[in-house]
Amino acid sequence: MGGLPSPPLPTTSYAPNGIVKMTDPVLHATKQVPDAAGRFGDFGGRYVPETLTRALDELAAEYEKAKHDPAFQEELDDLLKNYVGRPSPLYHARRLSEECGGAQIWLKREDLNHTGAHKINNTLGQTLLTQRMGKQRVIAETGAGQHGVATATACARFGLPCVVYMGSEDIRRQAPNVFSMKLLGAEVRPVDTGSRTLRDAINEAMRDWMSSVETTHYIIGSVVGPHPFPMIVRDFQAVIGNESRVQMMARVGRLPDCVVACVGGGSNAAGMFYPFVEDRDVALLGVEAGGLGAAPGQHASPLSFGDPGVLHGSYSYVMQDEDGQTCDVHSMSAGLDYPGVGPEHSFWKATGRVAYTNCQDDDAMRGFDALARNEGILPALESSHAVAKAMEFAAKRPKEDIVLVCLSGRGDKDASEIARLKAADEK
């Protein structure tokens, strides 16, 4: 298990009843993205300064080579197994399911990975690519700090210097992860421009890369940015969905009826959904951050409320004003507090393969509480959005149905922010 999805395309897939069936040609086509220009249908591409083009071409070429190199695959698999602890468990949340009174809720436990989230799947893969390209330094952006910690971890493991850009608002609300990054030897550079969140951290990391591109690799943490990043990050995260399929078949002999994941930039969702794209009978549900409500500036849900446009190197749904200026967005969860989304999600929205909804702050908090009290699991605030919507969905479905949730990260990092939010609510 683990690593990249194998390049040969499957001509068959598991039907929900476990019978092997021919693949639907439309769904099969939906999986054959991106094209050579990095297009997922109309979305994606590459909108960056010319300075970065050579590095992006080199990255795409190196990734292509690595993908077909058994030694690379072997090394990554070994790291995922013995360092990260994969495969991550598939857990039947019985008490949570009973609480909802409907379908069975199952959790893919990415929160149990080393460093506490799915982010490490990508950073190890990209760190191996960094080494293959002979680059000696790594930079990254982070929102919730999970990608920052996962990058700092991978860099410590391979002895690479690491600089993480993080908005000062996020440094405040995700302090435990800032300490961890520093303990791991990374330099955390606060970003005070704009909204001082993930979007500004990406801007600063891109600016660093503009000057350092010849010696530095930029490990983007989500399925965003210019080609080939959205593809590479999705492929490294696809281990989540690939494992889930095998585990589901082994445990219950069929695939789930619905798969739910939270979407900020969208990496855990992309990794979870991609391996299920061809399974017609598996509904896929992406959950954006609904924040405080549908009014402009109150949420971080470009797929729900935005329009296609250009941000951070790709063409995708984005929250912009009429002039094309990026809007401020809001989510209590730093990892979802982002005005854009990965281009493949825009493609899945356009093709209808994935349904997208959004979950407001207070509902996500109820999801957090429900999982904590019924199952003894503290989910990350990001993942709590998916938990809340999965509970809502499960309540309306029969007991035989299976709802699989990507529990993308654990909530330890959020403890003090949650305490603060709850105290503010009580006032």
Partner: protein, 270 residues
Amino acid sequence: MSAIDQLFTELKQQGRKALMPFVTAGDPDVDFTAAVIRELAARGATMCEVGIPYSDPIADGPVIQASYTRALEKHVRLADILAMLGATTRAISMPVVTMVSYAIVYRHGLEKYVREAKAAGVAGAIVPDLLVEEAGPLSDICRREDFSLIQLVTPTTPRERALRIAESSTGFLYYVSVTGITGERQALPAEVTENVGWLRSQTELPICIGFGISQPEHVRMLSPVADGVIVGSAFVRRMATAAERPRDEVLAEIGSFATSLLETLDHRAN
């Protein structure tokens, strides 16, 4: 033939080089931007590059970034900038081009942007986040409208690719002197002259050099190989003081800085 093509034809005949200052539109307001453009024209600047503020400019250093932020905090709108340019360009012969993110052009509508900019007397656009691979649709409209689409070549651009960019670019070719973001630098890389010299041997298109250029010494170093130089942050930094100083004083300072650069350019050319 666009206004920029005509300009370079004339400069070539006269054996002169171009100076293109960069100014941020709307910092602190569009009236001041208009006054700066007029001042630069009066001092004999050859062209002017007007930066359309953008919320997420990844190719820009702190000085231009901060000017964009100030302008956007004052809610400057694209329509206000184009209206100001329409009124300003009528009274001057110096061509004006816009530096504008593709996020803005796309949102506005490619065709609509080009038509409205052209109607405002703008001669062309530099779109710093539009690569040659993605430039097709905008490039077609620009050719049809005789509106220059100036494209960029950088030190990291492989030579074969540079030729492709030169073929696609119109007006002039923008050579980025450094691997990095905009902003003043003490020294420029020595290989600039070699790289531009090579480009010069490959294309008929005029070549202007930008990024990092802020001192007469830089101009002295580059003018033998380039058809023009672009100076951004050094102007924007001076403009930034207009919020708290008498505007006449700031304008005079910007004007004399432009004059010092022009004298260096003409001195070299003669």
